[in-house]
């Protein structure tokens, strides 16, 4: 059970992610956003529900659909935006971009291509946490498409036999690029893959913050007390294309409309928390306007930031001496 402050924080987190992405969608369409940009809008309850259960000892392993989880994990949103715009002051000094938001101080690890590697890296983070007795756990995000990478199965097995404090959160948004999960992934439900590796697996409604949070809470408790990994399949829908510029002809048009209307995570959250007597619509509305204001400042700052200095090109290749 969350406190009122926690609920308000979760709402603010989801609203921030949403507004950040809605604005990004507009900015992309009008030009000026570099690279490949994958928006997280629609999936916010997942990142918020996961991060609500993490401490600063824990590690969240991101995917290429990186903006939402980075914001939810508490990375500096100005640095997030600057990284997407590939500017000085970006989380990765403008070297990684949208898909590689990485902020280890916030317990956020960036995505790698190939997709799916985060589950293996997460095994390492979990192993280190156990060996170092930090009490930390790792949560690896992985998409419904990426789940079919070999390294994911390998890592599920490894996490299981080593009983690692790891949670594998499959963000099943129905598609890997234009390919449906029904086509690409054998078996109706992805959480059933867990059983093959002797890992408990559950499926939750990914538009419902509380469902996600509860499942992660249970999995995290299991991990923290040494009982090993769990898999949580978070079912959801992305509101935009695979990346910006995707014409989305593979989807029926009403798919997103219906979801936005009927199962939007922000609306569902509002409905639940305002049904009680402690949180009112106005309180949430004022968060909305604070966030709107924040987002304006974030974009203004990011768009006007300079690019990294040219002489950074050859910096930070090696941590130790490397002399040729």
């Amino acid at each position: 059970m969350q406190s009122i402050n926690e609920l308000l924080a979760a709402y603010r987190s989801m609203r921030t992610m949403r507004d950040f992405e809605e604005r990004m969608h507009v900015e992309f369409a009008t030009g000026g956003v570099p690279g490949f940009v994958h928006l997280y809008a629609g999936q916010e309850a997942s990142a918020a529900g996961i991060c609500a259960n993490l401490t600063d000892k824990d590690v969240l392993l991101n995917t290429h659909r990186a903006h939402g989880p980075a914001i939810a994990r508490g990375a500096d949103i100005f640095a997030v935006a600057k990284e997407i715009y590939l500017r000085k002051g970006g989380l990765c000094r403008g070297r990684g971009g949208s898909a590689h938001l990485h902020d280890p101080r916030s317990g956020l690890w960036g995505a790698n291509s190939g997709v799916g590697s985060g589950v293996a890296l997460g095994c390492g983070a979990a192993l280190a946490a156990r060996n170092q007795k930090t009490g930390g756990i790792a949560v690896a995000l992985v998409g419904d498409g990426a789940i079919n990478q070999g390294v994911v199965s390998e890592a599920l097995n490894l996490a299981s036999i080593w009983k690692l404090p790891l949670i594998i959160a499959i963000e099943n948004n129905g598609y890997g690029e234009a390919t449906t999960v029904e086509y690409a992934s054998a078996g109706k439900d992805l959480y059933t893959r867990a059983a093959a590796f002797d890992i408990p697996g559950v499926q939750v409604d990914g538009h419902d913050f509380f469902a996600v949070s509860d499942a992660i809470e249970a999995a995290a408790a299991r991990a923290r007390c040494g009982d090993g990994p769990s898999l949580v399949e978070v079912k959801q829908l992305r509101y935009f294309g695979h990346f910006e510029g995707d014409a989305q002809t593979y989807r029926p048009q009403q798919e997103v409309e219906t979801c936005r209307r009927e199962t939007d995570c922000l609306q569902l959250f509002r409905d639940v928390v305002t049904a009680g007597e402690f949180i009112g619509e106005t309180e949430l509305d004022s968060i909305d306007s604070e966030v709107a204001d924040l987002i304006n400042r974030v974009y203004a700052e990011a768009q006007s930031a300079p690019y990294p200095a040219d002489d950074e090109l050859m910096q930070f290749i090696y941590a130790s001496e490397y002399q040729v």
Binding site: S113, G150, E177, T180, S185, T249, Y307
Partner: protein
């Protein structure tokens, strides 16, 4: 004959080969796109839309969307090739060779030799290389030399639409595994391309330009950077030979040597890494085989030894440009 983009030329090569030979099949992530969805089929048409339209004509038995499982489907393509098919597998980014490297360099490359010459593996792997889109170090590499290291593979790196079509047709008809590396910044480049089918033999360089003062060897996008430089140099009175070997395995060293023997001066312009890359290899061959002809140390224009950054200014510094080529040519002209 009509003006076609690189993308269209590649698409046309695929269509014509699939019409000609029912053994040619296509597989890869979203090479059609939308299989099994409630929306439109062929919604994606492959990375950059290169394979759009193919599933409509040839059906989903021959144009197969795959899961994100490169090791499995490249492996399957090898198995199909060993069984008499002629698969074209799409490896979206050359960088992803990392997840199916064993299939490419151990299975495909060695299948024929290790098993004593009993099989042939007529497999083509199409993949996209090159920096320029601001998508960082794991989506922008050009490590085609890595494949060229391995006996058993052939490696093709087309620099324009005409070559792309003719080389892809040759690659598909070739009885050995071919890695076909398309440059992502060239897809919209256009030029006259014959409508009919034609082959450009693998291993024959293209003499892009005849000058006589200095030899420039360049591949893929760098051919155009070299040409820009040569235009500029010509104004200064320096006339360049430009040679585009078009394939790095086999490599047409004869054409390179022929030119260098005449000019005595060589600059290599390449987007692969500065070490153990194309420039090192060609320079080493020429230093060995045309030692006596060389009037100056060989010039190399390559990216620096660094992963590829995303920021546009840093990425521009990373990619070789015509000013660097001009400087390198001027340097070799001075010795």
């Amino acid at each position: 004959m009509s003006v076609k983009t690189y993308k269209q030329a590649i698409n046309e090569a695929l269509v014509q080969e699939m019409r000609r030979d029912p053994a040619v099949i296509l597989m890869g992530e979203d090479v059609a796109g939308g299989t099994g969805s409630a929306g439109q089929d062929d919604a994606w048409g492959g990375p950059m839309g290169v394979t759009r339209g193919l599933v409509g004509e040839f059906g989903s038995d021959r144009v197969l969307d795959t899961p994100i499982s490169e090791a499995a489907y490249i492996g399957a393509a090898i198995g199909a090739a060993a069984s008499g098919m002629r698969p074209v597998a799409d490896l979206m980014f050359i960088d992803f060779a990392g997840v199916c490297f064993d299939q490419i360099v151990n299975q495909a490359a060695k299948y024929r030799y290790m098993y004593g010459g009993q099989d042939k593996i007529p497999l083509t792997i199409r993949t996209m290389m090159g920096a320029g889109l601001g998508i960082s170090s794991q989506h922008s590499q050009s490590f085609y030399p890595i494949f060229s290291y391995f006996a058993g593979l052939k490696v093709v790196i087309p620099s324009g639409p005409y070559d792309a079509k003719g080389l892809l047709i040759a690659a598909i008809r070739d009885d050995d595994p071919v890695i076909f590396c398309e440059h992502k910044m060239l897809y919209e480049m256009s030029e006259e391309v014959p409508d009919e089918s034609y082959e450009i033999p693998l291993g024959e360089a293209n003499f892009v330009r005849s000058g006589g003062d200095v030899t420039i060897v360049a591949f893929s996008r760098m051919v155009h950077i070299a040409s820009e430089a040569a235009d500029e140099l010509s104004k200064q009175g320096i006339e360049c030979d430009i040679i585009d070997p078009r394939t790095s395995s086999p490599l047409d060293t004869e054409s390179i040597l022929e030119s260098v023997e005449e000019t005595g001066r060589l600059v290599i312009v390449d987007e692969s890494g500065p070490r153990f890359g194309m420039a090192s290899e060609i320079s080493s061959i020429v230093a060995e085989e045309a030692f006596a002809s060389l009037k100056a140390p060989i010039g190399k224009v390559t990216p620096p030894f660094v992963p590829i950054p995303a920021a546009p200014n840093l990425e521009s510094l990373y990619i070789p440009d015509s000013r660097q080529v001009i400087a390198a040519v001027n340097k070799v002209m001075q010795s």
